[in-house]
Amino acid sequence: MGVVCRLKGFISVETSSHDVLLIGGGGAGLRAAIAVAEVDPSLSVAVVSKVYPMRSHTVSAEGGAAAVVKESDSLEAHAYDTISGSDWLADQDAVEVFVEEATREMMQLEHWGCPWSREPNGRIAVRPFGGMKIERTWYASDKTGFHMLHSLFQTSLKYRAVTRYDEWFVSALLVDEGRCQGVVAIELATGRVHAILAKAVVLCTGGCGKLFAFTTNANIKTGDGMALAYRVGVPLKDMEFVQYHPTGLPFTGILITEATRSEGGWLLNKDGYRYLQDYDLGTPEPTPVKRSMELGPRDRLSQAFMAELEKGRTIETAHGQVVHLDIRHLGAKVIDSKLPFVRELCLKYENLDPVKELIPVRPVAHYQMGGVHTDLVGKTDLAGLYAAGEVACVSINGANRLGSNSLTELLVFGRRAGQAAAEYAAQQSAPSGAVLAQAADEEHRLEVLLRGDGGGERISVIREEMQLAMEAGAGIYRDEKGLQETAEKIEELKERARKITLDDHSLTFNTELTAGLELTNMLDLAEAMIHSALERRESRGAHQRTDHPERDDEHFLAHSLAYRVEDRSPRIDYHPVVITRWPPGERVYGR
């Protein structure tokens, strides 16, 4: 590793070191941090996050988190709902572990102070979610993610072993001798570049909804952790599966929780007709029926919207076609006690009161089922690198995630990954100095982006073109031609992204620099997503190919694995799905 070129020499690599390093301070990262601290308080554990932990996107989750708690419920039922919801692409050993540990994790969070909504007798209250046989969704009114995140964050403060690097942006993983040994990160306040060495690194950076123009995701959801792993040769699994949530507010994409429908809300087309009855989802009843109609799974509901759109039965607005979500009949009392945030969001962002008015909604990109390929304890193909939460693909979500499983997943697999990383770290020697040379290389890359003349390309222009291309080619329905066009567009954009010129060449809190890095991350993921979608010539769950409309278990009952290939399209391999007790069958809802 030769001499480091310093364009102006402002940036200097500084070094710190920990046993376990968590990238991301949302639900998974904080749960993992606590797990490390509890496994072995002598370990040094640190959380690096590009935002203060309580800003993490877990905060936006509304409806609830699933875990079996009712006498009438069972682990089998939770597993079956999850697996049939996944269109049989979930790994059943992972699902079994997940449902088994879910209740303990949720109870642990209760002990840590999460203000769960309660029954009159003081027990945990639950409600049903889409695709669920029996109600098992725990909730803290309709701000479940917010309360879970703040409870975890506040609880994490009592563990003195946990160091935090708030508002530090990780730009690269350091890998030597086949082992992940730390990261390079920019301290946003100063622009200083640091090498943070670690015996084990856990990615907990969440999803990548910002690949799409219309998304529920926060501005920070740029798939950074997925891209970091992809770039060091770790495969991304099932990236073609993107969940569209059926009910987002037009223009903002703000999520209106599924809990509106579990409390009894209806979806109506322009004729005021509960159109889901036309799509093999059951018959309309005045009160909610589980696994039926408005409580069907998200993929099927979003697809039904598209069919209504084709038939000309949606409603035109200034921000595109919508259908109506009607919760008026629930009355102000139920809405204010069970869905207060929905009312607040509608009043603030749509200027309407759902107690008296219909809510305009349309499907919106919401969740990435795929992610970094891991085993049941979050271990990736690279020694020392782990992943948990939306960034990871274990997989319990398969081709379509069941609503309210993702928050629980943060806890179950955050804990598992934290524990596994701690055990691994305890066995390892300190990272080698060799990675510091790589850190110097990364610093050079950052200098070039920061100070270089580039070629006049603008971040926002490329980002917008990418988002529109992704919606055009990789939306709810896809085909070969559209995917191919998007693949070519992404390739062009990747080329142009090398020529970005920043307006901002300074070091202090340079959010244009981080936006540039985020854009590069997203373009890598777009490539992985599009090529995984091109290769999967079947329709399953959230991946619907109009040119291959049937599920094809013979060829595609398998996880896709996208491997990065330098300067070429990714290589797509397949990995078998684990089937334990539930042979692939028909997904039946409403009958």
Partner: protein, 249 residues
């Protein structure tokens, strides 16, 4: 012709100038746009050097608080249209050192959060294993503290607080509300432990229930009410300690 509105922004760029300065930008005036949409328009199309924080743009992550026309607000929840004719003044939140442009330094608050021990404290012999189930809590007991648990740490209350500005050691509205959130949680037994920290805070007694903090709170947490309730509890505890000096702390 598209209408526009002027955003007059207080900039600070320590690498270039030691003093803050004002810069104005014309942004499209759209009915559905918030202040944050205006800032994003500037960042994307006019001037990539403008720095500010934002994430969820649905009023729950607490990142995007700023002074707008002199009032602390969440910029993702404040319509441009409501502030016509402009120019609309946008400044960093008052009371915090400025790092760059609209980005304030929150380290002081983060340290204060730690101080009030915002986690469930239970006597060791009364700890349950998660396998033994939940600590029962009725909806009424939940209601006791629920309001104080709604804080998104957006810092608007600190920007509005007349005491925090003068007395930097003051724990401040959000941190005290959070302490009360735990004190009043039926599962918690740490009120006395927290009181040791809170009672050293002169600022609490200086707080005069003017209630600016509660007025600006976007989540209706009512930190002013929390502070008043705390004072009452603290006075009662102090009185009890006089009457029953042998009582175990």
């Amino acid at each position: 012709m598209a209408e526009t509105v002027t955003l007059k922004i207080r900039r600070y760029h320590p690498e270039k100038a030691s003093e803050p300065y004002w810069q104005s930008y014309e942004v499209p005036l759209r009915r559905e746009w918030m202040i944050l949409d205006g800032l994003n328009y500037i960042k994307d199309h006019l001037d990539g050097t403008l720095s500010y924080r934002w994430a969820c743009r649905m009023g729950v992550c607490g990142s995007c608080g700023m002074m707008v026309d002199g009032e602390p607000v969440l910029t993702c929840a404040t319509y441009l249209e409501k502030l016509l004719p402009g120019p609309i003044r946008v400044e960093p939140l008052r009371g915090f050192p400025v790092i760059r442009d609209l980005v304030g330094d929150l380290d002081d608050f983060i340290g204060k959060l730690n101080k009030v021990k915002p986690w469930i404290i239970r006597r060791e012999e009364e700890e349950k294993d998660p396998a033994e189930g939940e600590y029962l809590q009725t909806p009424q007991q939940l209601e006791e503290f629920k309001r104080y648990s709604m804080c998104i740490n957006c810092m608007l209350c600190y920007a509005a607080c007349p005491i925090y500005e003068l007395e930097p050691h003051f724990l401040g509205p959000a941190a005290i509300a959070l302490a009360q959130r735990y004190n009043m949680d039926s599962r918690d037994q740490g009120a006395i432990e927290r009181m040791k920290e809170l009672s050293q805070d002169e600022g609490i007694w200086a707080c005069t229930f003017v209630g600016e903090c509660s007025e600006v709170c976007p989540k209706d947490v009512d930190p002013a009410g929390a502070i008043q309730r705390y004072k009452l509890t603290a006075a009662l505890e102090w009185y009890k300690s006089l009457l029953l000096p042998w009582r175990k702390q």
